[in-house]
Symmetry: C2
Subunit: 507 residues, 2 copies
């Protein structure tokens, strides 16, 4: 029996994943842990998928509603999607099997701001939560829980669900203990109080999660790694985007709008984000802070070389190599990393107070600065909005980044009108592609269009965009945001029909 379970009552509840999964019945709403492939339950969802498969074989319908922190992994989202075991999923996901089903219309998906999830559950907007399935790193003598590699919505799930299933994963580093800051000061309006967090490294909560032992129906022991999230070195386009952004930050420092200490960094995940972080190290920045969602391998390096003084997040999403590095220098990292509930990591109140520099990827932007983070051609979901809206709306700067083309140059990342809006013109300050950076602050729509076309668009698409804009300025119904409604979405339509946004003659 695992040393990780130190309370007798919880020991008595140890059972198999299959037995635990039996607590979940068709139609239930099940809230699970997990954020960016970290800290999700590894055994119970797969056992549940096996039960669903049996039901399917017997001609019975077995589908549940699944709430998480954000994206999980093949063992959860993938397993349940493949047996058609979910009728509803929220919030952010990035699983190929889930995405396929959402776009096929067989799985309903609610894409909501990550800062809204916990409070909407508390408000009762999702109905009753029947079961919570939460991975933890251990159970203390006093019955409190050592959180796993992500905190996500776990505090809310444990409090709101009727029944709780715990997975105790001994693969998670024991050293996680003490890195968490679980805020227990939330309340429902009209009883809410200010969140007294003034610096990214302020502790305002507790290192453990609380759970009512009477609700815990099963404890399942696991020893399984988080989803591998090793990352590849940044490509040329990512390095160029990072270069433009770093030039811009220098420019802002020269203008006196930022200091060399910058402001707390929020950074999405992936190639471009890594290139930006790498660039900050090369640029000689020291003692910065991050107030963000996810800590990936690259941030460990920045912490090690002093570029970052500390990092606050809700998820610790490391590759096996990252875990090795972490374990080899446990004390160093533990004093420099804080993991919080996602309602705090993404809280508008805190993000605006700290003045985060919000840097997020996008699928496309239009010439007026509206940003699409989620949809292909207006209809197909990619992943979801995640926390980008929480940070973009409330940060000191909101930056959206993307290569200027996709699909081998056939698709433009800058379009006349985005096919879906996740961030409006009111919320976008800076757009960056490998072509250049458009600073849209203090610009009216037509001024924005000029700058976006000139600096961000790929040269292959620039003349087409300029032509659209010129004709819209001549023939549009109004000159505030000139558009030609008959062709505003024609680039996407052409992409759907031909695979390319280029016109037939030149494609």
């Amino acid at each position: 029996m695992s040393e990780r379970i130190r309370h007798p009552l919880f020991r008595d509840r140890i059972t198999s994943a299959a037995e635990a999964a039996a607590a979940i019945r068709p139609g239930m709403t099940v809230a699970m842990s997990g954020f960016t492939g970290a800290g999700y339950p590894k055994a119970v969802p797969q056992a549940l998928a096996a039960r669903v498969e049996q039901a399917n074989a017997a001609g019975e319908r077995f589908r549940i509603k699944v709430l998480t922190g954000a994206s999980t992994a093949p063992e959860l989202d993938g397993a349940l999607a493949k047996v058609e075991g979910m009728e509803l999923r929220l919030p952010y996901q990035s699983d190929p099997a889930v995405r396929e089903r959402i776009n096929a219309g067989t799985l309903d998906y609610i894409d909501i701001h990550l800062s809204h999830v916990a409070q909407h559950a508390w408000f009762g907007f999702f109905g009753k939560l029947d079961v919570a399935v939460v991975e933890v790193a251990g159970i203390r003598e006093d019955g409190s829980l050592v959180p796993s590699s992500s905190v996500g919505n776990n505090k809310t799930w444990l409090e709101q669900a009727d029944k709780v299933i715990l997975e105790v994963n001994s693969w998670q580093p024991a050293a996680l203990d003490g890195m968490h800051d679980v805020y227990y000061g939330t309340a429902l309006p009209p009883h809410r109080k200010p969140i007294l967090l003034e610096h990214p490294d302020d502790r305002i909560g507790e290192p453990s999660l609380r759970v009512d032992p009477d609700k815990v129906v099963a404890v399942v022991e696991t020893h399984a790694p988080d989803r591998n999230s090793a990352f590849s070195p940044p490509d040329e386009a990512s390095r160029r985007i990072a270069g433009h952004l770093l030039d811009f930050l220098s420019h802002e420092i020269d203008r006196g709008r930022l200091t060399r200490g910058l402001l707390p960094l929020q950074s999405g995940v992936g190639n471009i984000a890594n290139a930006v972080l790498g660039g900050l190290a090369e640029g000689g920045y020291q003692g910065l802070t991050a107030y963000t969602e996810v800590i990936q391998d690259g941030m460990l390096e920045l912490l090690k070389n002093g570029t970052l003084r500390m990092a606050s997040a809700t998820s610790f999403s490391l590759s096996p190599a990252g875990i090795e590095e972490f374990n080899a220098n446990v004390d160093f990292y533990r004093s420099r990393i804080l993991l919080r509930p996602q309602e705090i990591s993404n809280h508008p109140e805190v993000i605006r107070r700290l003045g985060c520099i919000a840097m997020n990827g996008m699928i496309e932007a239009d010439i007026y600065g509206n940003v699409n983070s989620t949809h292909i051609a207006g209809s197909r979901i990619m992943n979801g909005i995640g926390g980008s809206g929480d940070f973009a709306r409330n940060g000191y700067l909101s930056v959206f980044m993307s290569p200027s083309t996709a699909r081998g140059g056939q698709v433009s990342g800058i379009v006349p009108m985005v096919s879906h809006v996740d961030h409006t013109e009111h919320d976008t300050m800076v757009l960056v592609t490998e072509q250049g950076l458009a600073d849209l602050r203090g610009l009216a729509p037509r001024q924005r269009a000029k700058r976006v076309i000139e600096t961000c668009a790929h040269p292959d698409f620039r003349p087409m965009l300029q032509d659209y804009f010129d004709r819209a300025c001549r023939d549009g119904h109004g000159m505030h945001t000139p558009h030609l409604l008959g062709e505003a979405l024609s680039w996407h339509q052409r992409m759907v029909e031909t695979g390319s946004m280029r016109p037939a003659a030149t494609g």
Copy 2:
């Protein structure tokens, strides 16, 4: 000399509007007071317009950049627009002459969240502020200023501008003194602190505005009323919309998600808002609070009959009859109304903490719940986003309301795809038309479409919407948010071409 000016230094600066306006030169950025036709300068902008006209006659170019709190009145926006005296205007406006020039492409307009304006000025995003022109109700012995009928961004303008022109308007009730709560705790990141406002009636600031006397270049005496904002009794559609919303609130109370005390109300201005407020009184609600932007005549009535216990806002926009009522019962109202800077009335931190019930009008919504608050047919600006985004994103509930048709039934308020997005699907909880109310919480996009078409669309357009949705669900590029890109905006295109969204055969 007015008794309102009680400090000798300011008395020495008393001058005519024409002389004061001479401090404003071409190309300057001028920050003016004013919010919803209240508390704007009445004399200097008109004197400035006369100078612009003279310059125009002499063949000289005289244009300035104008920043305000929100909408002003003919004496400011109208006067300057008519002589082509503005090159840039921000934020919210509702003036016909301004609108005409924006849509003609001769006046650049930046439409930003009202909560963002002050901080963007502090961040330096609008460049240097050359002159502030601020109406006040008086100047105290100690040189502090008694704010006028709106606070808006005045604290920021007085602090940020190089020079200050004050208009002391003796028409403003002397009884305004003491009703204001000007928060002086703001700072730039990383020095920001929590805003310790926990209830709508909490005072966290000072009753006066501060100004550096050395910056005050002119004091102009005026005696002129605010823009008349008497309102007409609600029409049938507004009463029906209010009825649906009140039924919904009752339903939420029955479900235990709200109490009879509701939560602080934010309400836009106009017919529908007035019908909703009237309905709350008829529904027997007592002791409610408002945390909103504007206090209009209707709210006085609610305060008087006890429906509202108190109201917090940034603007006190009364008709002459409203002023009369206020003056006749000064002590009663002064203890129940608070006026704050708009960065506090609209602050995301405070709105989320209080859990406001956000109720705003819209131009149109699409079947998936995206909302257009600002544009006609994607290109023409109407007014602006105002504070609707501040409240919708951060409130406990976000409600958008509109009649289901406009232009005598030729235009549908529910469309396949909005022509401009101000509030995304992620930010819209409830849509209401006179046809019914669609509660979109906890629904995925196709579920939303079904409900919006069934409950909100006008019967004349419902079959067309259902047909679009059915075909999109069959032929769309993906089933998450099914769209037919080739015709998603065709209703607007038809409206631009024929004046009607109805197809030619049935139009």
